[in-house]
């Protein structure tokens, strides 16, 4: 074996080991909590996993918005921007797609509208950071809530369904996205589109000049300026891509899954925030995020079933999910932290 090959294998072995160790740690920590509360950990884990994957259609539909908000977090992260606004970008994508679908009945137009609305919002946050030095976290959180209440107003006051006033008008069937038939079964269209989006993002990040410039800007803004790239543009572009993906997530959710938004906003709320976990768990890698979104969806679905089958309060399942996800994301987060500390020390 050549030295190069050996090093590469050692590298991958470390990754696998790291993940395996953190997974075991996470599951063990959760098991201790479950055990101390009087539940059988293996029984609970068994439910979470077996019930989580028992309905593939549900699993993949649930994973779809998470996959896209995960990407919406990770693409800007690669360019050094912390996009906590996936939430708001998902909202605006969802409402735009709903309105377009309702008035035109055109699925493609609605999807495009959702993407563009999210991209515009993301771009605005990025532009504020790049050109007005507004912290992206602050502006994004504020915009999240502005959009939350604006959309609530629209649904309650303008777009409510007269037959079911607790919901908005529905997406007409012509604009809905259904099952794409494949030989030997079908696959839910929205998940398929989301995976394609992830693959395109992967291509964009690792195979085009734009992605390269974004990554350089994220890893070392000084090097980016040195190389003649404009780091400000990178911030804006990364947020446009990230925002667009979150917007697409909102559109897919509405057009292919729930078909309307409810007046408690439970349809949309929290998916953007979960995306941060999904992105970190997928190590900010689009292919990793495909897997982590499905894993996340499995845990959430399985977690719901824990209450039904084991009589445990739903908060318990959430706690366990939290522990597992934190443990799994830890090696990556740890690396980021170490890098940060090292940079800080070098400055002194």
């Amino acid at each position: 074996m050549s030295k190069e090959v050996r090093i590469r294998y050692a590298h991958y072995l470390t990754i696998v080991l790291e993940l395996a160790i953190s997974a075991v740690t996470g599951f063990m920590a959760g098991a201790i909590i479950l055990w101390s509360l009087g539940y059988n950990p293996w029984y609970i884990y068994g439910i979470m996993i077996s019930m989580g994957i028992s309905n593939p259609d549900y699993l993949l539909s649930k994973a779809t918005p998470l996959l896209l908000t995960g990407l919406a977090f990770s693409v800007p992260m690669l360019a050094g921007v912390f996009n906590i606004g996936g939430e708001g970008q998902l909202y605006i994508g969802a409402i735009t797609s709903l309105v377009i679908a309702y008035y035109t009945g055109n699925a493609v137009l609605a999807l495009l509208g959702g993407f563009l609305a999210g991209a515009a919002l993301g771009g605005a946050i990025g532009a504020l950071k790049a050109f007005r030095d507004v912290n992206e976290v602050v502006s994004a959180i504020m915009l999240n809530w502005i959009l939350y209440f604006s959309i609530l107003y629209l649904i309650v006051d303008k777009l409510y369904n007269p037959l079911m006033p607790q919901q908005s008008v529905p997406v007409p069937p012509s604009a809905q996205i259904g099952i794409i038939p494949f030989p030997g079964g079908g696959i839910h269209g929205i998940f398929f589109i989301a995976v394609v989006a992830a693959l395109v993002t992967h291509y964009l990040i690792y195979y085009t000049d734009l992605g390269y410039v974004l990554r350089v800007s994220g890893l070392s803004p000084k090097s980016a300026s040195y190389a003649g790239f404009n780091p400000k543009k990178s911030i804006v572009y990364s947020m446009i891509i990230g925002g667009g993906l979150a917007g697409l997530g909102g559109a897919l959710l509405i057009q292919g899954y729930v078909h309307s938004i409810d007046t408690t906003m439970s349809t949309l709320y929290g998916l953007g925030f979960l995306g941060i976990g999904v992105g970190l768990l997928g190590w900010n890698n689009p292919l990793g995020i495909i897997l982590s979104s499905v894993f996340f969806a499995m845990l959430i679905i399985g977690g719901e079933m824990v209450e039904l089958t084991a009589g445990a309060p739903p908060e318990l399942a959430d706690t366990i999910i939290g522990i597992i996800v934190i443990a799994l994301a830890l090696p990556y987060a740890y690396k980021i932290l170490i890098n940060y500390v090292r940079r800080w020390r070098e400055r002194i």
């Binding site: 990754i15 996993i49 929290g270 894993f295 719901e304 739903p314």
Partner: protein
């Protein structure tokens, strides 16, 4: 490099997840295989214990129920026990309102009817359709009880796919009659009419003549409250000859205490003495406004709660709560299945069925205890809450008002009068306009007031 790196990173993650799945699946398999007898004795003990309770309740309760339970258990001992899944609203238990009441109802059914109940809290509207499909196709449950209007759409989408699965939807309707779907609605007009009388009477006791309500969204369930409340106020005017000002405000939200606070403050400044909260979380803000109004010495005013008993929130200032007995609805639906009396379609629950009403002191105590257990009630014990409320009611609700209430209640329970339920916004506004003019009969579908 990047291609390979990315693919290998992806592969590494996949492998790890596969390892986790394999380990967990192995553990699961090991658990089920190595202890096959373990779950069974547990199940038998629970069933035996529930049978004993059902027997004891059977002996203590009326003979008719005892016979039905007896026959159910004796004629077909092999027949499996009735299994029910209660699916909460988003957010689940701990709301001290809808979801907790649903739990109480199911618990009562478990004790008294010997059914087995499981619970489930969905994360969002998005999860409702898949959850319904999953539970319905599992064929495990004789009945799925759905709490709250959010289930309406999802139920409408799934009910036809599973004709053998019974669904009970509480406090909402799909508008479609299906043999496997029971929609349980409340006749809120009946309880809010009684509240209207008491609110008007209390306003006069407090030295004013204005009552108000902080309402949520302009949607059909709220229309019913509006009609009932206004009807009660006007009934009071007619019977006593005392003029009452009526304030009604939609806040547009069920989830914003801040809006509830400001709306309530405006009403109090307009002279309102009693405010009725009809806006979920929003009217918690109304409660706070009333508390501040009293504490800051601006005058004395009372608040009235709705759905669950909310007196515990501020027993000095909340003498009453309207009752929307989700527990009764849940229990009714389960009982219909157990008694083989299941019928699809809409079932309405009113004063007569105990589905709506005014919470008595026992109810006040139940919810004060729930709040006490979850540490939301501090500084006093449930018994103190009950004592304060009892004194408040005795002091501020005159006997004459209770007479009016009982008189109207009697007319409603006997079926002498029934209320209209408007189906369009125009019909609703028309009824309100007529009521404001003093035309009480405009609100009635049957009977008349003179």
């Amino acid at each position: 490099m990047n291609v390979k790196k990315a693919i290998s990173t992806g592969a590494a993650i996949t492998i790890t997840i596969v390892i986790i799945l394999a380990v967990a699946a192995g553990a699961w398999w090991w658990y089920t295989m190595s202890t096959p007898s373990q779950p069974k004795p547990a199940a038998t003990t629970t069933s035996s214990s529930t049978t004993t309770t059902s027997v004891t309740t059977a002996t203590s309760s009326s003979t008719t129920t005892s016979t039905t339970t007896q026959t159910a258990t004796t004629t077909s001992p092999a027949k499996k026990k009735v299994r029910v899944a209660v699916l909460f609203d988003v957010g689940g238990r701990g709301d001290l309102s809808f979801n907790d009441m649903a739990y109480l109802g199911a618990e009562r059914a478990q004790k008294e009817l010997g059914v087995e109940v499981n619970f489930l809290t969905p994360k969002s509207l998005n999860d409702m359709v898949p959850l319904l499909e999953q539970l319905a196709s599992s064929n495990k449950y004789d009945l799925l009880v759905l709490i709250g209007f959010l289930w309406t759409g999802p139920l409408n989408k799934t009910a036809d796919k599973f004709p053998n699965q019974k669904f009970a939807l509480i406090d909402s309707t799909t508008g479609v009659v299906r043999p496997n779907e029971m929609d349980l609605l409340f006749r809120e007009q009946e309880s809010s009419a009684l509240i209207g009388i008491l609110a008007a009477a209390m306003a006069y006791q407090l030295g004013g003549n204005t009552v108000g309500a902080v309402a949520g969204m302009d949607i059909p369930p709220l229309w019913k409250f509006h009609i009932g409340y206004l009807f009660g106020v006007k009934y009071f005017e007619m019977k006593t000859g005392k003029k009452v000002n009526f304030l009604w405000q939609y806040t547009g939200t069920f989830g914003d205490p801040q809006v509830g606070y400001t709306t309530a403050m405006q009403m109090l400044q307009q002279g309102a003495k009693v405010l009725y909260g009809l806006a979920g979380l929003t009217h918690i803000g109304m409660f706070n406004a009333v508390i501040d109004w009293n504490n800051e010495g601006k005058g004395k005013a009372f608040a009235i709660g709705e759905d669950a008993s909310q007196e515990w929130y501020a027993p000095q200032y909340i003498p009453l709560s309207g009752a929307k007995r989700v527990d009764v609805a849940v229990y009714t639906a389960i009982k219909d299945v157990v008694d083989n009396q299941w019928k699809g379609g809409i079932v309405t629950l009113g004063l007569k069925e105990g589905g709506v009403g005014i919470w008595d002191l026992d109810g006040v105590k139940t919810f004060a205890e729930l709040a006490y257990q979850t540490h939301q009630l501090k500084n006093m014990t449930p018994d103190e809450v009950v004592q304060i409320v009892k004194n408040l009611r005795e002091k501020y609700i005159p006997q004459s008002a209770w007479q009016l209430v009982n008189e109207l209640k009697q007319k409603i329970e006997s079926g002498e009068i029934t209320f209209k339920t408007p189906t369009t916004h125009d019909e609703y506004t028309h009824i309100i306009q007529e009521l404001m003019k003093g035309n009480l009969n405009a609100a009635l579908a049957k009977g008349s007031i003179s």
